[in-house]
Structures are given as C-alpha cells and as structure tokens.
Amino acid sequence: MLYPVVALLALLVAVPVIHVVVASLYRRNLFQVRPPRWVGLENYYYLVTSAKFEVAILRSMSFTVTALAVELALGIALAVWVHRMRRLPGMGLLRTVLAMPILVAPVVAAVMWRFMFQPDFGILNHFITGLGLPPVGWLSSPSIALLAIVLIDVWQWTPLVFLTVLAGLHAIPPQYFEAAELDAAGPWKQTLHVALPQVRRVIVIVALLRLIDLLRAFEIIVATTQGGPGDASYTFPVMIWETAFVAFEIGDAAAASVVLLVLVSVIVTLLVRAIARQGVVGRGQG
C-alpha cells in the first residue's frame, strides 16, 4: 500500500515541475493563439544575461536576509520574554494578540499596510509629522521601500517564529531553569545557556521555513510596490510574477521559476547539510 502512495505523491510533486520545465523551453505568450515555439535553453540565456536578473537576485537576498534576521531576533526575543513572564496574568491573552497577524491573508495585510504607509494621509506619517518630523515615503522612497515591505513581513510572520519558539520554551522542563537559578545564572545567562540551546532545533526549523517562504514571497510586494519604485523592491519572485502576468511571457516566466526552484533547493539543501553536521537536526539529546 505504501508504494502506490509514494508514487502518487511523487507524481503530484513531479507533474507541475515537469510542466514548468517544459514550458521554459518554449517561447510562448499568454495570449498568443498561434502555437508556442520551441527555443531550447534560449529563455534561460536571455534571463541570466538580462540586467534585471542580477537586480532581482540582489533584492531577493537583501529582502530575505533582512526579514529573516529581524523576524528571528524579534520572534525569539518576544518568546523568551513572554516565557519568562509566563506566570503573570494576561500573558495568554498577549500571546493570542501577538499571534493574530498570521491569520491575515498576506494580500490583505499588504493592502492594509499600504494605506498606513500612504505618505499624505496614511496613519504612520500622521504620527511622524505630528512629532514634528518630515514625512516618510514608506513605499515611494527607493531607499526605504524594501525595508517597509520587510516591516510588513516582519509584522505578519514574526508571530510564527514567536509561537514556535515559545512552544519550544514551554517544553523545556522547569528544572533546567531552577538548576541555572541555583547556579546563579541571571536572566540573560539563563536565556543564553539554558533556554536557547534547548530550543535550537526549533529555531533552526522555523528559520528554514521562513527562509524558504521569504525566497518565494511576492504577494505583499506585488500588493504594495510591484517591485518599485524603480527596482527598489524588485525581487526574484516579483520578476517572475511580472514576466508572467504583466508581460504575459509564459516561457520566460517558467525559465525564471525553474531557476528560482533550483536556487531555493540548493540554498536549503546546503543549509540543512551544514546544520546536520552541527548535530542540531536529526540527533537526539539527553
């Protein structure tokens, strides 16, 4: 019974991938009624030699690295703090409130933030100008737009890191903290030497999940800047989206999708291997 199931799963994964790979070998416009033309690897050649390819890679990297770093740091810090304060009344409610952004659809979140970011009548600039500061072009300033999008992603996905790490922290037997307390470890050392090492695997897994998600993220970018201003937030997935649904070039978009798939797979595989070598994933602990 196992083999048919595995075969079915493999098929479910393979069929769309094969479909995309095949599509990437044709030059084909979404609205072309005439048949697609076989071009071999030409779409890949034009992709990697285009100026936007380099830009898209760079933007994707800075978006992913920044958002990942902030989400992990903030999520872990929040989890550690809420865990330390877990005995205080109201922490359960706080946890629920902090988790709410996950429930919002990314596009809805992006549109909501877009209104808040609006430079002339958005709420953020209302406060900023109220403090006597100059208005900020959240999504219209080329140097800030990508960070503003990072902010949206951080708002939406830090709770995932927070909740996962918090669950990990709650699973640590309290004796470890009591032992550390007797060992005169202060809050900082307890966090560093007791809490975090014990949730290391949880952190690695949630970081991998976020990494994969960030490398593929495009909804919030499309719903806020569509890659702009200029190419300030032109990430790889946005490039794919634009090629497929603005320029309607299905072949080019498929080629770019294959490249992204390979890039994500390579990055994730390398990371998983590096981590496995560190003994964080896979082996149990005492």
């Binding site: 609205f31 072309q32 072009g137 219209s140 080329p142 890659g227």
Partner: protein, 459 residues
C-alpha cells in the same frame, strides 16, 4: 494598454457610480429583464440569448448592463447576459474561449493589444457594418479613425469600439487662478507650474502614477517621448497602430534619439519636484490627493472623470479641469500627444448569434443609448457624444478624451508590447530613482529593446 492601468482602478472611483450603486442597479435591471422575458415569451417562439463578457466596474460592467437592460426593453425576444470576470480572469477567459472556438460567448470586451494575435478567431465586421449604412456612417465619422483603427487588422474592423480612454493632464482651476498660473499645455509649463505650486504648498505641484506600478511610469514616459517627437523604433508610425509588420520589421530601435533623451530629461526634472508619493501611487490614491486638496496638478488617465462628479468629489468637482496630455519642447506638433487606451466589443467567429450581437453592439454605441450608457458610468468613443456631453461641467473630461483619442499614440500592439513597456518602465524607474543620466538610461533601454526585437525576429 489601458487594460493594465485600469486594473488598478477601484470600481467606486472609475465612473461616477459607486460599486453599491452598480449592484443595486444591476439587481433592478435583472428584475426588469425578468419581467421583460415574461411578457415577451408568449409572443416570440424562440428567445435569443447573447452573452457578453466584461470586466467589473461602472465603466465596463455598469455601462454594458444598463445598455443591455435598455436594449432588452426595446427588443423583445433577445436576452443579453452580461458575464463579469475579475480583471485577470477576463483575459484568460477571452484567450481560452478563442483557442477552443467556444460558442458560449457572443461578444468580448476587447483590448486592442489582443487584435494582432486574436483576429483570426474574430468575426470580420465589414459586411455587418455595411448592412446598416446609417449606423456605419454615424460610427465611422464619430469614432476617430486613429482610434478605432487599433481594432482593425489589414483594414478590416474586428470590434465595435464603444469605450474611449487616454492620458491627460488634470489641474485645479481655482488654485491656478489664485497663483496666476498658465494652462498646462506643455511639459515646460507643467514644470514651471509645479515649482510655483510647490512653493505655495509642499508637494502640491505635480503628481503622477509611477513607481513600477504596472506600466504607469512607462506610459507616462512614452506619452512624453511621443510628444517630444520621439519613437520607439523607426517604423513606429501613427498609421501602423503600434504594430510591427513582420515582413518589414521594426527598423532600428530609436530609444536613444535626442527627442527620447529630451523626454527622459524632462521626466527626471519633474521627478525632482513631484509629490514623492508619485513613485508608488495607485490611481485611487492620486484621486484622493485631488479630493483632499493635497495635489493640484496631475497626469493621469481619464478615470479621474469621477472627480468631476459632485457626489464623488464634493469639495473640488467644479474646480477640476482636464486636457489631453500636452505636447512640449522639441515637438510643437499637436497631433503627438499621450497614450490612448479603451475597449471595443469583438464577436468571436464561433458565435452563433452574430447578427443579434452586432445589433446589440450598435445599440450600445447609438445616440439613442448615449444617456443610459454615460449615466451608468461609460465613456463613449464617439466624438459627437463626447463633445456634446463634454459641455456639461460634470463631463468636461469627455472633451479631453475626444481630443486625446483622435491624436494620441497607440499602445504597442505587437505580441511583445507588454515587454516593451516593462523594459521602458524598468529603465525610466532607474532614471527617476537613481543618479543615472538620461542618456545612459535611454541607451540601456535601447539595448534591452533591441535584444527583445532580435529574439522576436523584428530586427
């Protein structure tokens, strides 16, 4: 390609009718249609039903639904069904139904950029046009040739063009009067006005939809480029309707010509003083900027017509003025103005109700239906209607549309047109967000378009 830009428009802002209003009216029309059907059925043996696809929003769905209700009341025995899909799905529906020769549809709301690829699957309308010389002459004389020609292929019309749109300049008359500013009839004037307006009130001088948002920036720039006398490529001529004849090719790409660089410099100069929100504004945000007294001079599509409606813009509706996108600088030629867009009704070859559908399309564009069509949110294509209705302050924009569609440049109507705009948007985006010089941005733009054209066999 107004289809793309219009996607960004919120229905409530698009045609002087709120979405709720459209829904309410739709329900009312449905009731009328049902009643009509009941009355008609005993009299007519077989009731004909024609299906028309459209996108949502008062300008398309609203105007067509209102027209359909009026048509059904007038023509017992014909039922018109208006089938609405979201923006992106509308194009997919057209594409797949044409590929499959589907008989499920009798007319599609049609974008001219699709004509080149789709015309073999569409009904040539010459014979049907000739079947009603009265209407034909009204239509041919009323809808400017340089506009409706976008829906032709090899001299054969493939749509009844009922909707018009173009880029234009909008400004606040009261503010201009108070500051003694000139009508923005050229880019130089726009720039001079912008500086004075900014001095009077921060960020009020100039605003446009730009950033990377769809192709706004590319559209704005392309309009300027043509206005300065530039071309995309050597054979980019008015009567080529933004197409490339595969036999003749595109000719040399001319995106580094002096007129193009001049336009790039002007846009860069404007970007130095424009409302920074321009770099990432959606059309409705531009509308809000006008309504809330933030911006006083903008370049935008005709979708702003809603702002001349007292219900939509209670404070400044009577102060908001439009004109076609101005010429300037190197080219004083009034015929070279901004971009135009718009829609027609195309009948698929596979349709089994061609005559009936044509009859409905004629009705949609007729004088008789004009009031219904316009009040529901439509923007007619007939210059006669545009100019007469344009005398009312609330429809002043119609005069600008009449001017714009007669002169404005066509969209890129070859298969790679969307990519052309993508490339232009990318490099003009660089130009206005980085320190790159206009010459370098134009040279890079030219290189990328050359690559695209070589790939497509145009070069």
């Amino acid at each position: 390609m107004s289809t793309q830009t219009d996607r960004m428009r919120f229905p409530g802002h698009a045609g002087g009718v709120s979405r709720r209003e459209v829904l309410r009216r739709g329900a009312a029309f449905g009731a009328v249609a049902a009643a009509g059907g009941l009355l008609a059925s005993p009299a007519v043996a077989q009731s004909r039903r024609i299906v028309v696809t459209t996108m949502p929003g008062p300008r398309w769905e609203g105007a067509l639904r209102a027209s359909a209700a009026a048509y059904m009341a007038r023509t017992p025995g014909t039922e018109v069904e208006i089938l609405v899909s979201p923006y992106a799905e509308h194009y997919q529906r057209i594409g797949t139904s044409l590929i499959e020769d589907s008989t499920a549809f009798d007319a599609h709301l049609f974008d001219p950029v699709l004509i080149g690829q789709s015309h073999p699957k569409l009904e040539p309308l010459t014979a049907l046009f000739d079947s009603d010389p009265g209407w034909r002459d009204y239509y041919m004389n009323g809808v400017p040739y340089f506009y409706r020609g976008s829906w032709d292929w090899d001299g054969v019309p493939y749509s009844i063009v009922h909707d018009a749109n173009c880029m234009m300049t909008w400004w606040r008359r009261d503010v201009f009067d108070a500051l003694g500013l000139a009508e923005p009839a050229s880019f130089e004037t726009i720039l001079a006005n912008a500086e004075k307006l900014n001095a009077a009130k921060a960020n009020a001088g100039f605003m446009t939809c730009a950033g990377r948002t769809q192709w706004f920036l590319g559209m704005t720039f392309t309009g300027m480029m043509h206005a300065y006398g530039g071309r995309w490529y050597e054979h980019d001529e008015m009567d080529a309707f933004g197409r490339i004849d595969p036999a003749r090719g595109s000719g040399a790409v001319t995106l580094d010509a002096p007129a193009v660089v001049e336009a790039a410099r002007m846009l860069k100069a404007l970007s130095r003083i424009w409302n920074p929100a321009s770099l990432n504004a959606l059309e409705f945000e531009n509308a809000e900027a006008f309504k809330n007294d933030i911006s006083h001079q903008q370049v935008m599509w005709s979708g702003f017509m809603t702002l001349q409606n007292p219900a939509e813009n209670p404070r400044f509706h009577d102060q908001l003025v439009s004109r076609d996108f101005p010429v300037g600088g190197a080219s004083p030629d009034p015929a070279r103005t901004g971009m135009k867009g718009g829609f027609g009704l195309a009948i698929p070859r596979a349709s089994v109700n061609k005559e009936a559908t044509f009859d409905f399309a004629k009705f949609v564009t007729s004088r008789e239906n004009a009031e219904t069509f316009i009040r529901a949110g439509g923007q007619p294509s007939n210059a006669e209607l545009l100019n007469s209705w344009g005398e009312q302050p609330q429809y002043q924009v119609f005069r600008s549309i009449a001017q714009g569609v007669a002169n404005g440049h066509h969209l890129a109507q070859f298969a790679e047109g969307p990519q052309l705009f993508q490339i232009i948007t990318q490099h003009i985006g660089d130009l206005v967000t980085t320190d790159i010089a206009a010459e370098d941005a134009c040279a890079a733009m030219k290189r990328d378009v050359e690559t695209l054209f070589r790939r497509s066999g145009y070069l």
